[in-house]
Symmetry: C2
Subunit: 223 residues, 2 copies
């Protein structure tokens, strides 16, 4: 990603390759002192806030960085939990900054990553802005599908590694509604779902339901 071998070597020296975490284990807890960012190598991580009732904030896939929202804080605001066995690398942030201060290309990458995270959240806000549950779930599935395919996985056939409860919390609806909508989508032939396994059968229809602009026709306008 635009770094020389030497740069990468320097970076490698500070990265800690932790042992793989098993389902249910935490990358960090809310309230813990912020020291590092975490790169997801494989697996899936959910972030959530436990103030009041458990509110899921996001699902993170390989390549994503978690802990970014604590950079300007002393402590983590949310907790990060592994949804399936995951390999996570720890990146001590202070040491990272020291190294990056001499490597403009690394800084540039970091800006891009942070920005990607912001635009990612923007997409989620868009998804959440939908007033009805059907749209939200459809948009969620399409978004997930897109993210998986960007990582070289199938866009049409995948396993959900989060529970129905997590999905419902994330989308701001009741679990029962998630369940019923899955069934409805299934019965309408939009997708085939059984347990955690989802197979999208009709993208166009799902996009129509989601009220989103199909990815194929996404904004390309130039000034």
């Amino acid at each position: 990603m635009g770094l020389t071998n030497g740069d990468v070597e320097k970076l490698e020296t500070i990265i800690k390759h932790a042992r793989p975490l098993r389902r249910g284990e935490h990358v960090f807890h809310a309230g813990e002192r912020f020291q590092s960012l975490y790169v997801i190598k494989t697996g899936c991580v959910k972030t959530y806030d436990a103030q009041g009732k458990h509110q899921v904030l996001g699902f993170h896939l390989p390549g994503d960085l978690v802990g970014l929202d604590a950079i300007d804080k002393t402590c983590h605001l949310c907790s990060a939990q592994v949804l399936e066995s995951s390999a996570i690398c720890e990146l001590p942030f202070q040491r990272f900054e020291e190294i990056a201060s001499h490597l403009p290309s690394l800084q540039h990458q970091m800006y891009r990553l942070l920005s990607k995270e912001i635009s990612q959240e923007t997409e989620i806000l868009l998804l959440r802005g939908k007033t009805n549950a059907e749209e939200r779930l459809a948009a969620f599935l399409l978004h997930l599908s897109q993210r998986l395919s960007k990582r070289g996985l199938s866009a049409t056939d995948f396993y959900l590694n989060m529970s129905r409860n997590d999905i419902s919390s994330y989308l701001g609806m009741a679990v029962e509604t998630v369940s019923r909508l899955f069934r409805r989508f299934n019965d309408q032939g939009l997708l085939r779902v059984s347990h955690k396994h989802v197979e999208i059968l009709d993208f166009a229809a799902l996009e129509r339901v989601s009220g989103m602009v199909p990815i194929s026709a996404q904004r390309q306008r130039m000034p």
Copy 2:
């Protein structure tokens, strides 16, 4: 903010002080080429996405940076419109990066700003996660109040510079619901509202309605 006078001078040379924008004018449009970030000096800016139906993504106050979600893109994804006469400074990003590459303290500040933006969005996700409209509006008002007070303005008495429509879009509910909830809160004595003017009378009660943890009792836990 930890910069020497010399640093600030350098930064000043690249900042463009645009003429003030009037209500309704745009800072940038979706699809325009990304070149600069924008710092809000005074006023208020809303960001929105016009794909499908107008979806409000955020309200930005003095000190906030807008355009961050485009750093890793060639074009802006959303549009930014001024809600009241606002002074906006333009910060050409490429030139900024060149200058920052020699100024670690400036880099550090930038990371903090980007992170602040991410945690800001996290708060919004929390707010949006609420299933019922009452909680969302209450949380919205508290959040806004808190942001205003951080800027030295009154936390209890302020003017909304966005329309009811903007609020409804932002919170994912119908305009009518916003209107009715304002009335209900007013009648219940939680606040006094007339048109754009809001006066919060009972913070504790509003916090209870919002289902959020009162700011006073916010997480301080240490590992």
